[in-house]
C-alpha cells in the first residue's frame, strides 16, 4: 500500500502543494486529475524522490520510502527523456539492467514489451527516428521493463493514438491485476473514468475530492434530471428550473434541483414524454464542480 501523507512544497513564496495526501492499495488503479498547475507533477516527483518535499511523507506498506524501494518503481516523468541516438531495444534493455535485471531477463522483458506496444519493427531504429507517439511508447517500455512494484506515470496517455491507448490500458490493467498500485495523471477524464478504481482531484495544491469513482458520484448528489419531450409548444418549460436545449423536434431539459414530480406533470401536459430519468454525473461534471 502506497500512502502519501501531508505533502507540502513551496517554490519561493508560491505554494505548489498544501498538504496533499491519498492512499493507493495494491492492485488499485488511481487516476490523478487536476487543472494545469494544480500540483500533480510536483506530487509525483516527490513520490519518486526526484524532488524533496518541505514536509510530509510517502510510505510503502507503513515504512517511509527509501532508495531501494523507489528503484523497483516504474516511473514515467512528465518531461520525457530518452537517449536520442540509442537504439530502441538497446535502450529498454539498458534501463532494465540499471534497475537490476540480469542480462537475459532484461532481453526477455524487452522483447515482450516491444511486442505488446507494437514496436517490434522499430527495435533497431534510433529513438530520434521515431514519431513522437512511438517515442512515448518507448518511454513507457522503459518504465515497465523491470516489472515494477509500483507504477507512477505522469500523463502516460497523452500523444497516443486510440490503439496505443488501448494497448497501454491493457498493460496497466494487467500490472494492477498482479497487485501493483498504479498512479497515473491525465487530462482525459473519460479515460480515467473508464480505467480507474479511484480518482483524486487536486486543485491549487489541495485534494478536493478523492475516492472510488462510484462514491464520488454518490457524494455529488442524485444526479441531474433529464427529460426528453416531443412536439411541445415553445416556452412550455419557462416556469421550470434548469436548462433546455432543442435536438431536432425534441426538447431536452436538464434540471439539477426542483421537484421532479412537478417537472414530470408539466412535461406530460406539454407534449409526449420520451425519456424521464436521473443521469449519473460524469467525471467531467464532478471535476468541474470540485475545482469550481
Amino acid at each position: 500500500m502506497l500512502e502519501i501523507d501531508g505533502l507540502r512544497k513551496r517554490y519561493g513564496d508560491k505554494t505548489a502543494l498544501d498538504g496533499v495526501g491519498f492512499t493507493v492499495r495494491p492492485g488499485e488503479m488511481f487516476g490523478f486529475v487536476g487543472a494545469n498547475g494544480a500540483g500533480k507533477t510536483t506530487t509525483m516527483r516527490i513520490v519518486m524522490g526526484v524532488l524533496g518535499a518541505d514536509s510530509g511523507e510517502v510510505r510503502l506498506d507503513g515504512r517511509p520510502l527509501g532508495y531501494d524501494d523507489r528503484r523497483a518503481f516504474g516511473y514515467m516523468p512528465e518531461e520525457r527523456g530518452l537517449y536520442q541516438k540509442m537504439k530502441v531495444a538497446e535502450q529498454i534493455e539498458y534501463f532494465g539492467r540499471l534497475h537490476g535485471l540480469a542480462p537475459a531477463a532484461a532481453r526477455t522483458a524487452t522483447d515482450a514489451l516491444l511486442e505488446r506496444l507494437g514496436l517490434v519493427e522499430r527495435r533497431d531504429d534510433a529513438v530520434e527516428a521515431l514519431s513522437l507517439g512511438n517515442q512515448q511508447r518507448v518511454q513507457l517500455a522503459v518504465a515497465l521493463v523491470h516489472e515494477p512494484t509500483v507504477l507512477i506515470l505522469d500523463e502516460p496517455f497523452s500523444g497516443l493514438d486510440p490503439l496505443a491507448v488501448d494497448a497501454l490500458a491493457e498493460v496497466l490493467k494487467d500490472r494492477a491485476a498482479e497487485g501493483v498500485p498504479v498512479i497515473f495523471s491525465s487530462h482525459q477524464l473519460d479515460l480515467v473514468e473508464r480505467l480507474c478504481d479511484s480518482v483524486g482531484i487536486i486543485s491549487a495544491g489541495r485534494m478536493v475530492a478523492y475516492g472510488p469513482v462510484a462514491e464520488l458520484r454518490e457524494r455529488e448528489g442524485r444526479g441531474v434530471l433529464r427529460v426528453v419531450v416531443r412536439d411541445a409548444a415553445p416556452g412550455w418549460a419557462d416556469g421550470l428550473p434548469g436548462r433546455i436545449a432543442r435536438e431536432g423536434d425534441r426538447d431536452v431539459l436538464l434540471c439539477e434541483e426542483g421537484d421532479d414530480q412537478a417537472v414530470l406533470r408539466t412535461a406530460m401536459g406539454a407534449g409526449t414524454v420520451e425519456h424521464f430519468g436521473r443521469r449519473q454525473p460524469t467525471l467531467t461534471e464532478i471535476f468541474r464542480e470540485a475545482v469550481a
Partner: protein, 361 residues
C-alpha cells in the same frame, strides 16, 4: 558498483562506435608516428651511400658501400642519385658536382687509414671523456617531453569535454530524472567518467604505441633515452590523475546548465585552469630543471602535466614524484567532494543556469 559499471559500459559502447572517436584516434596516432619519422625525413639517417669499383676499403659506420662492375656504371649511379659518391680503384672519387664536405672528410680519413694499415702501423683512437651532466639524450628527451605536453593536453581537453557534454545531454533531455531513480548520482557520474576515461587511456596507449613502433621502424629507437618504460608509465599514471581531476570539474560545471550552447561559458574556469597547466608544462618541457618547473610539478593540478613532462625531460627524485602523486590524489578527492555537493542538486534543476551559490548553501 554494478550500476557504475553498467553506465561506464554504455559510455564506451556508444562513443567507440562514433566516427569522431575513430577519426581522432587515427589522427593522433598518425601525427605522433609522423613526428617519429620526421628526423629521418628531414636530415636523413646520417649515413652516406658510396659506390665502389675495385677494392673496397674497411667498413666504417657512416658509409654503406655498394659495388659496381665498372666506372661507367658507377658514374651513372652518381648522376642518377643512387649513391652520394663513387670510389674508383681505391684512390679516386667521383661526385655529382661538388663533393659533400663531411663525406669528403670521411673518405679522406678512410683512405688515410687504408694506407697506414698497409704500412703496418696501428693507430690507437682518441678517448673521449665527458665532464658535467650526460647531455647525450637531452635533445631527444626535450622532444619527447614537448610531444607529451601536447598529447596530454589534447586528451584532457577532449575527454573532459565529452564528460561535460554527456552530463548536459542527460540533464537537458531530462533522462536524468529516470536515471536517478535507478542509479545513485555517484554511480551515474562515476560511470560516465570511468567509461570516457578508459577511452582516453586507450587513445593514449595507441598514441604511445604508434610513436614507439614508428621509432623502431625508422631506427630512431636506438636514440631513445634509457628508462623509456618509466616515462611511459608516468605518462599513463598522470593521465589518470589529471583526467580524474579535470573530468570531475567538467561534470560539476556541466551539471549547472541544460543546453550545450551554455556549456562553453560555464566551463570557462576549468578550461582556463587547463590552459594555465598547459602553458606551465610547456615551459617545463623547455626548462625542466628551472625552479618554476620544480615547484609546479608538485602543485596540483599543474603537477598532472608538469610532472610527467619533467620526468620525460630529466631525472626526478622518487621522493618528489611520490609527494606530487599524494598531493594530486588529495586534490582529486577535494573536487569529488565539491562535485557530490553540486552535481546531485544541480542536475535535477532544469531550465535556467543554476548558480553555484544556490547549490553550495
Amino acid at each position: 558498483m554494478n550500476g557504475l559499471l553498467l553506465v561506464a559500459q554504455r559510455e564506451v559502447r556508444t562513443r567507440i562506435r562514433t566516427k569522431s572517436f575513430l577519426i581522432s584516434l587515427a589522427i593522433s596516432a598518425i601525427l605522433v608516428a609522423a613526428l617519429a619519422f620526421l628526423p629521418k625525413a628531414l636530415g636523413g639517417d646520417g649515413t652516406f651511400d658510396v659506390g665502389v669499383v675495385g677494392p673496397a676499403p674497411a667498413p666504417v659506420t657512416q658509409l654503406s658501400y655498394s659495388r659496381y662492375p665498372d666506372e661507367a656504371a658507377a658514374r651513372k649511379a652518381v648522376i642518377g642519385g643512387d649513391v652520394d659518391a663513387a670510389l674508383i680503384g681505391g684512390d679516386r672519387v667521383i661526385a655529382n658536382g661538388e663533393l659533400d664536405q663531411r663525406l669528403g672528410l670521411i673518405l679522406e680519413s678512410v683512405h688515410r687509414d687504408e694506407q697506414i694499415r698497409a704500412a703496418g702501423v696501428t693507430v690507437t683512437p682518441l678517448r673521449v671523456e665527458s665532464v658535467g651532466a650526460d647531455a647525450r639524450y637531452q635533445g631527444v628527451r626535450t622532444g619527447i617531453a614537448t610531444l607529451l605536453v601536447m598529447v596530454l593536453f589534447f586528451l584532457f581537453i577532449y575527454s573532459s569535454m565529452y564528460v561535460a557534454m554527456g552530463v548536459v545531454e542527460e540533464k537537458g533531455s531530462r533522462i536524468v530524472e529516470i536515471l536517478l531513480t535507478s542509479v545513485r548520482p555517484w554511480q551515474l557520474l562515476g560511470g560516465k567518467i570511468v567509461g570516457l576515461g578508459v577511452l582516453g587511456l586507450v587513445n593514449l596507449a595507441v598514441v604511445v604505441a604508434a610513436g614507439l613502433a614508428a621509432s623502431a621502424a625508422t631506427g630512431f629507437a636506438a636514440d631513445l633515452p634509457p628508462g623509456m618504460g618509466g616515462i611511459v608509465v608516468s605518462a599513463l599514471v598522470w593521465f589518470v590523475l589529471g583526467y580524474a581531476f579535470f573530468a570531475v570539474l567538467a561534470a560539476t560545471f556541466g551539471s549547472l546548465v541544460s543546453r550545450q550552447e551554455e556549456l562553453n561559458t560555464v566551463l570557462t574556469p576549468m578550461t582556463t585552469l587547463m590552459m594555465l597547466t598547459y602553458v606551465t608544462a610547456y615551459f617545463a618541457a623547455v626548462q625542466p630543471t628551472g625552479t618554476v618547473a620544480r615547484v609546479l610539478s608538485l602543485v596540483p593540478p599543474f603537477s598532472s602535466m608538469v610532472m610527467p613532462v619533467r620526468t620525460a625531460a630529466t631525472g626526478v627524485p622518487l621522493g618528489e614524484i611520490l609527494i606530487a602523486v599524494a598531493l594530486m590524489i588529495v586534490a582529486v578527492v577535494g573536487v569529488l567532494l565539491f562535485a557530490s555537493r553540486v552535481y546531485q542538486r544541480a542536475v535535477l534543476r532544469t531550465g535556467a543556469r543554476v548558480r553555484l551559490g544556490e547549490v553550495l548553501r
